[in-house]
Symmetry: C2
Subunit: 208 residues, 2 copies
Amino acid sequence: MKSIPLPAIRRYPLYLRRLKAYRMGGTLWVSATMLAEDLGFSSILVRKDLALTGLEGRPKYGFSIDPLIGAIEESLGWNNRTDAILVGAGNLGSALLGYSGFAQYGLEISAVFDSDPAKIGTKVQGVPVFPMEKLTDFIGRTHIPMAVLTVPAESAQRTAEQLEDAGIRGIWNFAPAKLKLSDKVVVQRVDLASSFAELSSRLKKDQT
Amino acid sequence: MKSIPLPAIRRYPLYLRRLKAYRMGGTLWVSATMLAEDLGFSSILVRKDLALTGLEGRPKYGFSIDPLIGAIEESLGWNNRTDAILVGAGNLGSALLGYSGFAQYGLEISAVFDSDPAKIGTKVQGVPVFPMEKLTDFIGRTHIPMAVLTVPAESAQRTAEQLEDAGIRGIWNFAPAKLKLSDKVVVQRVDLASSFAELSSRLKKDQT
């Protein structure tokens, strides 16, 4: 497989959404220029991004919309369901479980793990909560590749190591902590606190 | 005010959390080296970041913990409460309203706006939902500076323009869309879809 640069990968979800909206409206053909104008990107950029999927547009027509959607989803690995567990059923974890938007990316959270005895055996947003002691066994048995990490900062590193040892290969890290793991695990961080810090600071600077 | 570079600003929430944990444990003095080791940063980096707050450490002792926490919070503008509204009471919006972590940053969401008549007059996570028609008037009356934007991609640009016209100065944009606004508005984007796309793609690459 040709390796697609990350900046393009990060734009693909935007293209996908727009393409699906076009399709809902009955559009059959779409051009890079049309997408570019709609999204505020340059058309050269969009043309290059779409070419990376391996599809070729037809002169004057552009791209047939269904194959293009399929090619982008395949580039993202979203044509297959990705099974994941969520570790940490606190506020953020519960909030994310309630966010049905994940289903659009093929992300399916099949189990939740937490260390709080009061939560074990309950369900959060319909997903069962298991004790941390079952984590290693569960991952070993199901071969689930991905974990969404929403534990507090203090237990993030310890929990991440446990996930790595159990065989998890990708961690979507929402815990406000930098994880130190071997390069066998891919870590992708979403840091809401840093993002809000940046916004607050830019707003403050703007005021002075 | 001295302008603090964004990379430092983005690390401040990590320092804050760690410092508050130290304080809970009864620690009175803290050194840049100690913070650096705990967080996996270089001590030169942490030393520089802390110096940007304007505080000076005492040789051999380091920093007194309370003034250091105060100085970082002030640099972030988190010593004051930031009032905000949330626009879009869909899945992600409701999920974020349920995330009590925001309170730690001083972010207080006082009203929710939505276009769905079925939601108007109800409360989401205890916060009242108002119709979009009241948005401009509400912002004008309360002078609320910030909006959390969680509408669908299709209505993001239109809603953002309405927010700008009404006087909002900062938008925390969770909608999967690039906003085109004047430079009077600071936009900070959190793109969960792009983040997940990056993780999926890096995992896939890792497999091949």
